[in-house]
């Protein structure tokens, strides 16, 4: 799987500046002023409360394969944006942009946007399409 990893430092981070309601602290968990984009193949989509996770196998620049762990909304939040447990499946190639975790060893992102090139499915940016 080809790999694309871009780190963007976004000053201000307007997209994250509004109140959100999480079980844990997003501010403490993620570098909310930074953005990372990954491209890879979905290994697992855990559609779950209070947060769903998308596990994506990504090929790093040195050739190693790394599983990225992308935190998404809960079932109710995602359901409100049309996402169901069948929206994603193992093997789908996706491009995901998100805020990286402070703990780099976790290879974890907080989902901001997702694209699936094969059918043009996108999530993120529209009203309600945020991880709270």
């Amino acid at each position: 799987m080809k790999r694309s990893l871009v780190v963007l430092l976004v000053a201000g981070a307007c997209a994250f500046g509004r109140p959100v309601f999480a079980h844990h602290s997003f501010a403490a968990t993620y570098l909310e002023t930074q953005s990372v984009t990954i491209e890879g193949e979905i290994v697992q989509f855990v559609f779950r409360n209070p947060h769903s996770f998308v596990h994506v196998m990504v090929k790093e620049t040195d050739g190693t394969m790394v599983t990225y762990n992308v935190e998404w909304g809960g079932t109710g939040q995602l359901g409100g944006t049309g996402v169901t447990s069948a929206t994603l499946r193992a093997g789908d190639v996706v491009i995901i942009t998100g805020a990286p975790a402070r703990n780099a060893a976790d290879h974890r992102l907080r989902m901001v946007s997702l694209k699936r090139p094969k059918d043009g499915f996108t999530w993120g940016g529209k009203t309600g399409e945020t991880v709270d």
Binding site: F16, A22, S25, A28, V46, N49, N69, R102, N103, D106
Partner: protein, 634 residues
């Protein structure tokens, strides 16, 4: 409670009560309603002085960030953290909540009252006389269900289980509802890792002003705070049901591929984001970490003179100081009596003889796990006789240590294994096959790992106290009293003969000294213990537990010493052992000597909970055991 802390607590409580009562009184008078105070005793009117029933929405006026996305890292300003609390918070990595056993941790009551989401309160009344039995309080987030008992019942004993909501009792003081909460689990004062220990107690004041409700929480935590922490939360009454009261939480795979050996944390002095908050807000580094002084107005002037060096010094344990000691309540009754705590089904915990004992009863004879020190064996036997119609049939020892086996001889002699006299082998078997005792008709069968027998023989323990039914490999199992009982061997944990006993149907695990709530693990290197084996054993226990709801309940875990736990207490203990192990290992890898490791105070964030400078197992002995255990492995 320590004198200074008690004095400060009383001062704060008086002040808070005065403010709350004055505010409530003014409010009620404004409404033209005199405060209704119940008379004491049986003649008390059934109605409350204030009624908080209904739907409540938080106003979000106080620290909205805490009720939204969460507070910033390393913002501890206004919190009376002591050194242990500050270091615990600085060491905390929010990634820890991705560990399976932390994912569904609920909020402890003081934080729950402040958290986002809506609330609902309702009364529970005795249907026969309409007296108020309890007030229920439901929090939307984490499905936090509190019960505030209003019927005068006492709080549970010190050895009873803790919960995220704790055990609450309430009474009316003038127009205020005053609630006292004990038996809380370890949790957060803030979601950025600011800790609240399982030794915290909380006093709350509910005061209603028409459709406005004020809740003031006063947290007293001898482990992490130097002064009571006072915070207020406000809510307004919603006319209709908010709906959406559920908050399901299933743990799942969040960070895949991470070793179960990993507990995310930051080394002292190496927290990469320590300056983020102060730089963002242009504050001195020390300003958000100065503890109790930062609670008072005069601190603003003092903070102007704070140097960067003062802040940097707060990121690590203060050098050259002796270790702090545990400020936790001693859960041992020490009254010369044996106390029985029902756990689930037909399984009980017996407390009082210097080490927790577990008894399972049923149609067959009693199955006992561990026998205490033996000093109160006669009373232990009497207590078991009250629980079980039949004598003790089996005794399992979780290790050879004296607090596990001290009562073997007496409890064994008081028991009987009826499977033996009817056995074909009874008249011809060698003594070893019947448990090394003279008369199988009048003795329980003693079970343990074979290394327990070997260690006890090495220590010249009398024959009638020795286990005869031993095992060598991973597992010994037994169907008894309608349950399936398993003994799992944990090699080289506390000793080289530890067993964890699992009552599968009752869903109760007996951990022996692998897990305690009172002290650092007694890793007995001389008798085969190791820190790596201890961590493996704790993880093995966690592999067998399940929670019932939002990270608590479900499988109960009986510690060798201390209060009844569930997986939350075990995972906090596991985290502690892993973190200390990793800190010691890092210093060994850097070439540090034992003396240097001891001087570094690597347990400083846990010493006020588990530490001791005297007695049979000190903090220094624990650190030395970890060091030598790791050095021996190299």
């Amino acid at each position: 409670m320590h004198g200074a802390l008690r004095k400060n607590t009383m001062k704060h409580l008086r002040a808070v009560l005065c403010v709350c009562v004055a505010a409530a009184g003014a409010s009620l008078l404004a409404q033209g309603q005199p405060a209704q105070t119940p008379a004491p005793g049986a003649d008390a009117p059934p109605g409350p002085a204030i009624d908080i029933s209904g739907y409540w929405t938080p106003t979000m006026n106080e620290d909205g960030m805490e009720r939204g996305g969460g507070s910033e890292l390393h913002d501890y300003g206004g919190f009376a953290l002591n050194e242990a609390g500050r270091l615990w918070a600085l060491s905390y990595d929010p990634s820890r909540v991705t560990l399976r056993h932390h994912q569904c941790d609920a909020y402890v009551t003081p934080y729950q009252m402040r958290a986002t989401g809506n609330f609902r309160a309702w009364e529970e009344r005795d249907p026969h006389n309409q007296r108020l039995v309890a007030i229920h309080w439901w929090a939307q987030v984490t499905e936090g269900h509190r019960v505030i008992w209003m019927d005068g019942r006492p709080h549970p004993p010190a050895w009873a289980a803790h919960t995220f909501r704790g055990f609450s009792t309430g009474k009316y003081v003038g127009p205020a509802l005053v609630v006292t909460t004990t038996h809380l689990k370890q949790g957060w004062l803030r979601r950025n890792g600011t800790p609240e220990s399982d030794q915290a107690t909380v006093t709350e004041f509910f005061v209603r002003h028409g459709d406005h409700l004020m809740n003031t929480t006063v947290v007293t935590d001898p482990v992490f705070l130097t002064e009571p922490q006072v915070r207020s939360n406000d809510y307004y009454r919603a006319p209709v049901d908010h709906g959406t009261w559920l908050y399901a939480c299933d743990d799942s795979e969040q960070i895949v591929g991470r070793s179960p050996e990993v507990v995310p944390f930051y080394f002292f002095g190496k927290q990469p984001y320590a300056r983020e908050y102060s730089e963002h807000h242009m504050l001195p580094l020390a300003a958000a970490m100065s503890g109790a002084p930062s609670m008072y107005p005069e601190f603003a002037a003092a903070a102007k003179n704070m140097t960067d060096a003062m802040g940097t010094a707060l990121l690590s344990p203060a050098p050259g100081r002796p270790s702090e000691t545990s400020k936790a309540v001693d859960p041992e009754p020490r009254d010369g009596e044996i106390h029985v705590l029902p756990i689930r089904n037909n399984v009980y915990m017996l407390v009082g003889d210097g080490g927790n004992i577990v008894v399972q009863t049923g149609d067959q004879g009693a199955f006992v796990v561990d026998t205490g020190t033996g000093r109160l064996s006669d009373k232990v036997i009497a207590a078991i006789d009250k629980l079980s119609e039949r004598p003790i049939q089996f005794i399992a020892n979780t290790s050879f240590r004296p607090d596990r086996t001290g009562g073997n001889a007496k409890l064994g002699a008081a028991g009987m294994d009826p499977s033996l006299p009817g056995s074909f082998f009874v008249n011809s078997a060698p003594r070893a096959a019947t448990g090394l005792f003279a008369d199988p008709l009048r003795h329980a069968t003693l079970m343990a790992h074979n290394n327990v027998l070997t260690r006890m023989q090495d220590n010249k323990i009398p024959e009638d106290a020795l286990p005869g039914d031993t095992y060598l490999e991973e597992r010994r199992r037994k169907a008894h009293n309608g349950d399936s009982i398993e003994l799992f061997y944990e090699p080289n944990a506390i000793t080289d003969g530890d067993s964890v006993v699992f009552f599968r149907r009752a869903d109760v695990i007996v951990a022996g000294d692998i897990f305690t709530t009172t002290q650092y693990p007694v890793i007995d290197l001389k008798n085969g213990g190791s820190v790596e084996g201890e961590i493996k054993a704790l993880n093995d226990i966690l592999d067998r537990t399940n929670y019932e709801h939002e990270g608590e309940g479900g499988t109960y875990v009986v510690p060798g010493h201390g209060f009844l736990g569930d997986e939350h207490e075990v995972v906090e203990y596991r985290d502690m052992v892993v973190i200390v192990r990793d800190r010691v290992k890092a210093m060994i890898d850097a070439g540090a000597t034992l003396a240097q490791v001891k001087a570094a105070r690597l347990t400083a964030d846990y010493d006020t909970r588990y530490g001791s400078n005297t007695g049979a197992w000190t903090t220094e002995m624990f650190v030395e055991a970890v060091y030598n255990s790791l050095k021996a492995r190299k």
